[in-house]
């Protein structure tokens, strides 16, 4: 033992409790979803730079400063890159207080798989921290950890997990909209009684049994931000092994809460008021967490602290949160207004206006460039007269002169965008063609945020389209769904995180159809045909069809003059095979509650349609 410097000494078996055990952590460096495609086709999410430091460095720094002494990093996608990065970083030095083990496997498909592996290899000996590789935080876990241990020792092993939340008012921009949760908790013991994703629902249902849990103080809270940091007991890994259905943390939490009477396991929570914790789950969160880091909300993890101990990465901090690394040259008349981080050896031309931006190393930026909320990674060339607004520009991109990037554009690695072109909002350009075959197999990734796979337009071209990337440009455009004229957030499936809610929620189906039908009334049946694939995706089960029809009813009840169109809509939906006869008949035969809907059902056109439908049904039955 004498020669081993830097390793924490293993407690001998003779030593008493778990208090002697070094704190361990499980870091899942793969998010099991494709939110950051096409950027993550080249680089795993954990290595993407946030304020010029890889995201996994923030997570490891958080773990190390909170006293973790042994970390297991699980990687799946592009594991070799992550491993290489970690081995060069300060955490794999022999003097590091936190010993990092990297475990890779191609077979992980979800958080559940990782935890089952943890259990199979019996890596954890006592309570451990569970985090994702893209968590940025400065929360001090020691108090939560103490409470957790106390709870477990008092009530023998009933409490299985403690989740860490941060108090944050609704609508705050650090709250990720997809991750919004509503929690019912016991005020005294801080036990979670009910956990639900909010997803912009207007009505929520709470099962009554949660209020019978024997306490007299209940809180229903919507002001919590999930930090995605959990203190788990070794039982968590076992529970995942026992239940192959548990794939994501959401599944696990809900499963435990539902089966509480049977298994008796409880989940508790800890709410921190100071401290910052957030997960970069989509590009909108990337923007928010980046700007929070620059504005020093994550102190002491600040850009000039160079916590990752990288060579040559020291920077100075000046007024208005302007950080400049070494070798930066700024042209005449250029203004760095506020919240700017400029990487080393970057050259910025004359008369530029830069604000709320992060620029990586070795970039060359021309004259008269306006950068606002831009995230520019390394070795990027931006020519003169370019305007960039709220966009991400990855490594080695070249932006020629006169280009205007509107909000929420993403230029992935090695793209070239030609001169004098204005890219509309939400453009995603990548050197990978959208139809490219993945080397990975097609198993679905299972994660809490995995939603309906976004559709890509199947263009058969393999050449660059000058209309999209400019005359000298290179890159393919990754289109979002074919709904170009929608403004509703629910329907736009772009990687900025404004995604439709899960299919399983009936209410959302209702809304989708509602909005869809409204729009079609005003445009034409052409639009309906265009949207057919979307409708088909949502309307799969008979229950969905009923919902669809109910929503249409609602729409039409508001617009008496359009009842004639109802028939047309029903007809086209029937022909497009979105709705089936049984569904329509069922809906029609359903007792109607209001006068108006009764009137609707007596509409001539509708009656004729129903009659035709019945005949068609009979004839098809006769055929069979």
């Amino acid at each position: 033992m004498a020669g081993k410097a830097g390793k924490p000494s293993r407690p001998r078996k003779a030593d008493k409790d778990e208090e002697e055990q070094p704190l361990q952590a499980v870091l899942v460096a793969d998010s099991f979803n494709r939110r950051f495609f096409p950027i993550t086709k080249d680089q795993p999410r954990a290595l993407l730079p946030l304020a010029n430091v890889s995201m996994i460095d923030y997570t490891l720094e958080f773990l190390t400063s909170t006293g973790v002494q042994e970390t297991f990093v699980f990687c799946c996608w592009m594991a070799s890159k992550i491993k290489e990065h970690l081995q060069k970083s300060k955490w794999c030095r022999p003097t590091s207080p936190n010993v990092v083990h990297v475990i890779t496997s191609d077979l992980y498909r979800s958080l559940g798989d990782v935890l089952r592996d943890v259990d199979a290899k019996t890596l954890v000996r006592s309570d451990f921290l569970l985090v994702y590789g893209d968590v940025v935080s400065n929360i001090d876990i020691s108090q939560a950890l103490q409470e957790h241990k106390q709870r477990r020792s008092m009530d023998k092993n009933v409490s299985v997990m403690t989740m860490i939340f941060k108090e944050s008012p609704p609508g705050h921009k650090t709250r990720c909209e997809d991750d919004d949760i509503i929690i019912a908790m016991d005020g005294k013991s801080k036990r979670i009684l009910h956990y639900q994703r909010a997803q912009a629902l207007k009505r929520l249902h709470f099962p009554m049994n949660i209020f019978h849990s024997g306490s007299d103080e209940f809180e229903i809270r919507f002001d919590l931000l999930d930090c995605h940091i959990s203190i788990c007991s070794p039982q968590v890994a076992e529970l995942f092994t026992d239940n192959f259905d548990y794939q994501t943390k959401n599944d696990f939490v809900r499963g435990l809460l539902v089966n509480e009477e049977i298994l008796g396991n409880q989940i508790h929570m800890h709410v921190t008021k100071d401290g910052y914790g957030a997960r970069v789950s989509n590009l909108l969160m990337y923007d928010t967490v980046s700007s929070d880091t620059i504005r020093r909300w994550v102190y002491p993890i600040t850009p000039e602290a160079n916590f990752a101990d990288l060579e040559g990465q020291s920077c100075t901090h000046s007024r208005h949160n302007v950080y400049r690394e070494t070798g930066v040259s700024l042209g005449h008349g250029s203004q760095m207004e506020e919240n700017v981080l400029i990487g080393r050896n970057t050259m910025i031309g004359a008369n530029c206006t830069i604000s709320n931006t992060v620029i990586g190393a070795n970039c060359v930026i021309g004259d008269n460039v306006t950068l606002d909320r831009a995230y520019i990674w390394n070795r990027v060339h931006i020519a003169d007269d370019v305007k960039v607004k709220q966009s991400v520009i990855c490594d080695n991109v070249e932006v020629k002169h006169g280009v205007v990037l509107n909000e929420q554009c993403v230029l992935a690695y090695n793209v070239v965008v030609g001169p004098d072109i204005t890219l509309p909002e939400g453009t995603v350009l990548s050197m990978h063609h959208p139809d490219e075959e993945d080397d990975e197999d097609d198993d679905e990734f299972l994660s809490d945020d995995n939603d309906v796979g976004y559709r890509k337009d199947k263009t058969k071209l393999k050449v660059f389209n000058p209309a999209e990337v400019g005359s000298e440009g290179k890159g393919y455009r990754w289109k979002t769904s074919s709904l170009e004229d929608t403004e509703e957030d629910e329907l736009a499936e772009c990687i900025w995180g404004e995604i439709p809610p899960e299919v399983s929620s009936n209410i959302c189906c209702f809304d989708v159809v509602l909005l869809g039908v409204e729009q079609s009334l005003y445009v034409s049946s052409q639009l309906l045909k265009k949207w057919a694939p979307v409708f088909k995706n949502y309307v799969k089960r008979p229950q969905d069809q009923l919902d669809c029809l109910a929503s249409m009813e609602e729409v039409f009840l508001e617009r008496e003059t359009h009842w004639a169109a109802l028939v047309k809509v029903l007809m086209s939906m029937y022909q497009l095979e979105i709705l089936e006869e049984e569904g329509i008949m069922h809906w029609f035969n359903q007792g109607s509650t209001t006068d108006k809907s009764q009137q609707l059902r007596r509409n001539q056109g509708l009656l004729k349609f129903i009659q035709w439908l019945q005949e068609a049904e009979e004839s098809s039955e006769e055929d069979e």
């Binding site: 400063s65 207080p97 020093r296 102190y299 602290a305």
Partner: protein
């Protein structure tokens, strides 16, 4: 191998010291006083001298300079670390010169005559090997450590000369040096102390409780009341985080306000600072009146930029007297003291 063991042990200690430095700002205010930091730095430098491999003074200076750069880069706001490194470098130069037999005076004077007559630089001077250099340097560092331990007492001993009976003294925040200073004077004299609380960490409250335990009449006032109360104050005695080379201060926020109010009322401002706080840096932004060291606030506010500077720059014109462990000095004399402590070539590590 014992040699390899020592080296890894040494680098481990350096690493843990660095990481402690990096995190030292993460609590409310600083977790350790500057005297402790200075002592730990010096102890670490002594260990480096003892355990690292070097054969002549030049090598040792290189090693210490390199480690010093890393330490100052880890936490730039803690200047005592850099100051101690420079002191040790000066010690090495002195010991080397003594071993060579040349007098110290000759090296110090940068007269015009010397510049014209002397030849090349003295770079190669440090390459000679002396057998006892290591022991001498370590002994000198030990002397430095004893000096560090006695600074607070040296300063407190001068208290009776400056504080008279029935005086009203004002101070701000919490400084261990000023606390010891006032407690020493309180043994023989009766006086009244007003403490400005120094928001947002309100360390003034702790100062007031500690002083009142020694039966000193203390009043706590909010920072906004400083000017209003100043007319009744006889003297202002403050501590500081750093003394800059031009005689200015980098002190806790609110000190500039206090200094301006004192100037307006012609109240003398006395700064109690030990010599290890003297730094060869000059404030690089004399016009700007604050040096930022932002600290986390307690709630996330979106769309609002919250600034919470921790330090203030106080220009030398506002200061009357510096009391240090070597006695009282005017701010205009600070540059001279500095040349005694540090060699000009070490100003830039």
């Amino acid at each position: 191998m014992p040699g390899a063991d020592k080296e890894t042990d040494l680098s481990e200690r350096i690493e843990s010291f660095l990481s402690e430095l990096k995190r030292c700002g993460s609590g409310a205010g600083s977790l350790r006083g500057s005297a402790e930091t200075a002592r730990e730095t010096t102890a670490l430098l002594r260990r480096i001298t003892a355990q690292a491999r070097w054969s002549n003074a030049g090598d040792l200076m290189e090693i210490i300079r390199k480690e010093g750069r890393r330490m100052t880069a880890a936490q730039p706001s803690v200047t005592t670390v850099g100051n101690m490194v420079r002191r040790v470098l000066k010690i090495i130069r002195e010991e080397y010169a003594r071993s060579r037999g040349s007098t110290e005076e000759a090296d110090q004077q940068e007269s015009l005559h010397k510049l014209l007559t002397s030849g090349g630089s003295s770079e190669d001077n440090f390459r000679q090997h002396f057998a006892h250099l290591k022991a001498n340097v370590i002994e000198a560092i030990n002397e430095l450590l004893t000096e560090l331990e006695g600074t607070t007492d040296n300063i407190s001993m001068q208290a009776l000369e400056h504080i008279h009976s029935n005086e009203v003294i004002m101070t701000i925040g919490r400084s261990r040096t000023v606390e010891a200073f006032l407690k020493d004077a309180a043994r023989k004299r009766k006086f009244h102390v007003m403490v400005a609380e120094c928001a947002p960490f309100c360390q003034g409250h702790e100062m007031a409780t500690s002083l009142s335990k020694e039966d000193i009449e203390t009043t706590v006032i909010p920072d906004a009341a400083i000017f209003a109360v100043m007319s009744r104050v006889n003297k202002v005695i403050i501590g500081t985080q750093t003394v800059l080379a031009n005689g200015g201060l980098r002190a806790v926020n609110g000190t500039h306000t206090l200094a301006l109010a004192a100037k307006h009322h012609s109240t003398p401002l006395i700064v109690c600072a030990p010599m290890f706080k003297l730094s060869p840096q000059v404030s690089d932004t004399p016009v700007q009146s604050h040096l930022h060291d932002l600290v986390k606030l307690t709630s996330i506010l979106s769309k609002v930029n919250a600034h919470c500077p921790v330090f203030d720059y106080v220009p030398p014109e506002l200061i009357t007297l510096f009391i240090s462990n070597i006695g009282g000095n005017a701010p205009s004399y600070i540059y001279r003291l500095m040349s005694e402590l540090y060699h000009p070539e070490d100003h830039e590590l």
